[in-house]
């Protein structure tokens, strides 16, 4: 029987901690996002309930909790109720391997990095089930889009995680943090870090990759049919929980986790998580939404080749200089990123110019042939 009590003693604190992290993020981040978006858009944002609107999340939750729990009559009831629970598995279980502090990890698995990727599968599943069970075309299209997008962007994400594993020489997240004793991996591998951020934003379906929830065309994607408490669950706990967990994994992999200047504590982890979430909100206020073809082209033609190149070069450097590979890989990565920033906009501009010229030519042709045009694109 002692093993059962052991299990409970190990399990319960971890469970409560993971749940608290997700609930806190669901309370803080939607409100923070609205206030920050307001600030960036030169608006006020919600500032009426309590000082500076700080009680707004509680008012929102109260409202959502006392709403009637509606299941659409044509929905598949069992799956409709099951989907949010499946989707919550990812944010809950990912936290198991993340080192919260110097001596606290819920379970330090020696396959932590693979585990994070494996657990991510459940959120795709939850979205697909929610989209299908709602029996609504917007939900279905939203679910399918998010699944397609997440599968595409998982490849560059996994390639950057593999890079971290190679640099560390281990799959355990605790060892990843220890390996960043002297310098963060974000400084050694800025390219990998940027690819992680971009692929993560796409994986979380945030702007500019929020096609699955494009409100002007799909209402809210797979969440459309969910209301009241279930909406709060899916939008608050699952979506923002995923954002938090992504930020936790990112700050552990690239920003040194709980390590920081002056003292080592989980406060640093919290600060880094807040910074990464702030970046996501900043993107939200800054970038317009991409089209689906641009999204896929960016993943397959830019991110995957870049991360493969980075991975191959880094592994080669580690083979050549097995003892002090940090400096060469850092130089390479910074050089790659400089080249990327210098030449990528030019290439994109040239491609855009060419497509516009082609479009212009074809339009002129069709107007000449059909005879309906009144001067083509210029008028």
């Amino acid at each position: 029987m002692s093993s059962v009590t052991d299990f409970l003693v190990n399990f319960l604190p971890g469970f409560v901690l993971a749940l608290m992290v997700i609930i806190l993020s669901a309370v803080i981040f939607p409100f923070a996002a609205r206030r920050i978006l307001g600030f960036m858009g030169d608006r006020l944002g919600p500032n009426r309930v309590g000082p500076q609107g700080l009680l707004q999340p509680f008012a929102d939750f109260l409202k959502l909790f006392i709403k009637e729990d509606v299941t659409p009559s044509q929905a598949h009831r069992m799956l409709f109720l099951l989907a949010p629970a499946v989707a919550l598995v990812t944010p809950m279980l990912t936290q198991v391997v993340i080192p919260f502090g110097e001596d606290y990890t819920i379970a330090d698995l020696n396959i932590g990095l693979i585990y994070i990727v494996a657990v991510g599968a459940f959120s795709v599943l939850g979205m697909l089930i929610a989209g299908w069970a709602s029996n609504n075309k917007y939900s279905l299209v939203g679910g399918l889009r998010s699944a397609a997008q997440m599968i595409s962007y998982e490849i560059p994400l996994i390639l950057t995680i593999v890079l971290v594993a190679i640099l560390t020489g281990s799959l355990s997240l605790n060892k990843v943090v220890i390996a960043q004793d002297s310098v963060w991996f974000a400084a050694i591998q800025p390219l990998a870090f940027i690819i992680y951020v971009i692929a993560g934003v796409a994986e979380l379906n945030r702007t500019p990759f929020d096609l699955p929830e494009a409100e002007s065309e799909l209402v809210s994607g797979y969440i459309t049919e969910y209301g009241g408490m279930r909406f709060a669950f899916l939008y608050g706990l699952v979506e923002w929980g995923n954002v938090t967990v992504w930020a936790m994994a990112g700050s552990t992999l690239f920003l040194g986790g709980w390590r920081g200047p002056f003292f080592n504590s989980s406060i640093w982890l919290a600060v880094k998580v807040l910074a990464m979430v702030l970046v996501i909100i900043w993107f939200w206020a800054t970038f317009p939404r991409l089209q689906i073809d641009q999204l896929m082209a960016f993943a397959w033609k830019v991110l995957i080749p870049l991360s493969l190149l980075n991975l191959a070069a880094t592994s080669a450097f580690i083979l050549i200089w097995p003892d002090n590979f940090l400096l060469p890989t850092a130089i390479l990565s910074w050089a790659l990123i400089a080249l990327f920033i210098l030449f990528f906009p030019r290439i994109v501009r040239r491609i855009l110019l060419n497509t516009r010229l082609k479009l212009l030519a074809t339009r002129r042709m069709t107007t000449v042939i059909s005879g309906t045009g009144k001067g083509g694109i210029r008028s």
Partner: protein, 165 residues
């Protein structure tokens, strides 16, 4: 510890068997696909009980994350209707029955033999062992498999392109 493992083993076995039966018995294809996921997860749990965490993670990553999602994707994208009869009243059931019986009896005979029961000790951690075997002893088959996957991918791309033109 033994009782605890035994309890989880029985629980997981029940999950695997029930969900595997549900795959065949459900009339709705989506329900079948979802119970297939339950069965895969149960197998992953068995791997964890055997201290093969890497294999369990790979099981979840590949079977739940990739294959099941692909199956559900295919079902959702194609127009389907719920069948009048579930699959076990299908005509092919009569062919499947003897095949399953032969396979089952063969498995039982193999598992009953002495050579099978002489299981080695569980090695922990497994990831290093697997990696060193994969990249030293079995490097050639490993590369061959990756080549086969590449060929399959290129083939899929070509097939998808042909359909458009």
């Amino acid at each position: 510890m033994g009782d605890f493992n035994q309890f989880f083993f029985i629980l997981l076995s029940v999950v695997i068997l029930v969900s595997a039966a549900c795959v065949v018995l459900f009339k709705n294809l989506i329900y079948s696909a979802l119970s297939m996921i339950g069965s895969f997860l149960g197998v992953a749990g068995i791997y964890i009980l055997l201290h093969a965490e890497l294999v369990a993670a790979a099981q979840v990553l590949i079977y739940v994350g990739a294959i099941s999602v692909l199956v559900i994707f295919a079902i959702m994208l194609t127009h389907h209707r719920t069948g009048d009869l579930s699959l076990y009243f299908h005509k092919q059931a009569w062919i499947a029955l003897p095949v399953c019986a032969v396979a089952g009896i063969t498995l039982m005979v193999i598992m009953g033999s002495a050579a099978y029961n002489a299981v080695g000790e569980a090695q922990n951690p497994t990831d290093e062992n697997i990696a060193s075997l994969l990249f030293n002893e079995y490097a050639f088959p490993f590369e061959l498999v990756s080549l086969a996957l590449l060929v399959a991918m290129i083939g899929a791309v070509i097939l998808a392109k042909k359909e458009k033109s």
